[in-house]
């Protein structure tokens, strides 16, 4: 990589996430791996949370939309 290219890349990164959040390179979460920590059940995978979140969103959506619409009228 040429110096100019490197500087340009660094500038793009800094303008993006770097300035705000990135103090460590983010690795994508390995969804089919077992969960970390001591709160888990042995069989739980990291991806379980995403699945459960989607299911929960579907369940709660009608009520939240109703409540959102209801409070807008006031």
């Amino acid at each position: 990589m040429k110096p100019l290219q490197a500087i340009a890349l660094a500038a793009i990164l800094a303008a993006g996430t770097g300035a705000w959040a990135a103090d460590a390179p983010a690795k994508p979460m390995k969804m089919d791996e077992p969960m970390h920590g001591e709160m888990k059940k042995q069989s739980m995978k990291k991806g379980d949370v995403k699945k459960a979140a989607k299911k929960k969103e579907r369940e709660l959506k009608p009520m939240i939309e109703k409540e959102t619409a209801g409070s807008a009228k006031k």
Partner: protein
């Protein structure tokens, strides 16, 4: 047969037997689930083998622990209220002096402690059973200190804060388990005490 019937004496009142067995069941659940909870963040450099624990995982163990808690609290209130109001504690556990406890514990260790009349506790028993009650009280309060370090922070402060309350809770559990193990060993050595805790009756020593 007629002669045998005349020999039965009443040893344990019904309420003592019922609360004893509810307590035994409750404490078994509390200890086994508590060990699982301990394993999630061990205070000391050892873990309890999972095979000896209850709950399957942390959430399961917590559910058992906080369900059995109510059973034990209600049972404990019934037992202690009866013990004080009826005079059961006063009659069964006192008088009690360090000298008699020392004498009887030594006797028990040498296998020379007589327990012929089951309706009277020797000094070693009195000390052990009182110690179990004291342990239970400390376990309840150190448990509250860990469970509610904000709402009941005055109790947590008595134990020197959250972290030391955890240590007190664990060590008191260990002491209680030790006393219970000795208690069960003694029942194995004098097996006729076992049915007495169920039926309430014992044959008069001949």
């Amino acid at each position: 047969m007629e002669a045998a019937q005349a020999q039965w004496v009443k040893v344990h009142p019904l309420i003592v037997r019922v609360t004893h067995w509810i307590n035994a069941f409750g404490i078994l659940i509390m200890v086994a689930s508590g060990w699982r909870i301990y394993n999630a963040s061990p205070l000391f450099p050892f873990r309890i083998p999972n095979e000896l624990t209850l709950g399957g995982w942390l959430a399961g163990a917590l559910q058992w622990h906080f369900a059995a808690m109510w059973l034990l609290v209600i049972n404990g209130i019934a037992y202690v209220t009866y013990g004080i109001v009826s005079g059961h504690f006063r009659r069964k556990f006192f008088p009690l002096t360090p000298a008699t406890v020392f004498h009887d514990v030594l006797g028990a260790l040498r296998g020379k402690l007589a327990h012929d009349d089951l309706s009277v506790y020797n000094a070693a028993q009195r000390a052990a059973y009182l110690a179990i009650i004291v342990c239970a009280v400390v376990l309840v309060f150190s448990g509250l200190a860990i469970w509610k370090p904000v709402q009941l922070q005055e109790i947590t402060a008595i134990f020197g804060g959250y972290e030391s309350a955890r240590v007190v809770h664990f060590l008191t559990m260990a002491l209680l388990v030790l006393i219970v193990v000795v208690h069960i060993a003694m029942v194995i050595l004098v097996p006729r005490t076992f049915p007495t805790m169920i039926t309430g009756r014992a044959r008069r020593a001949s």
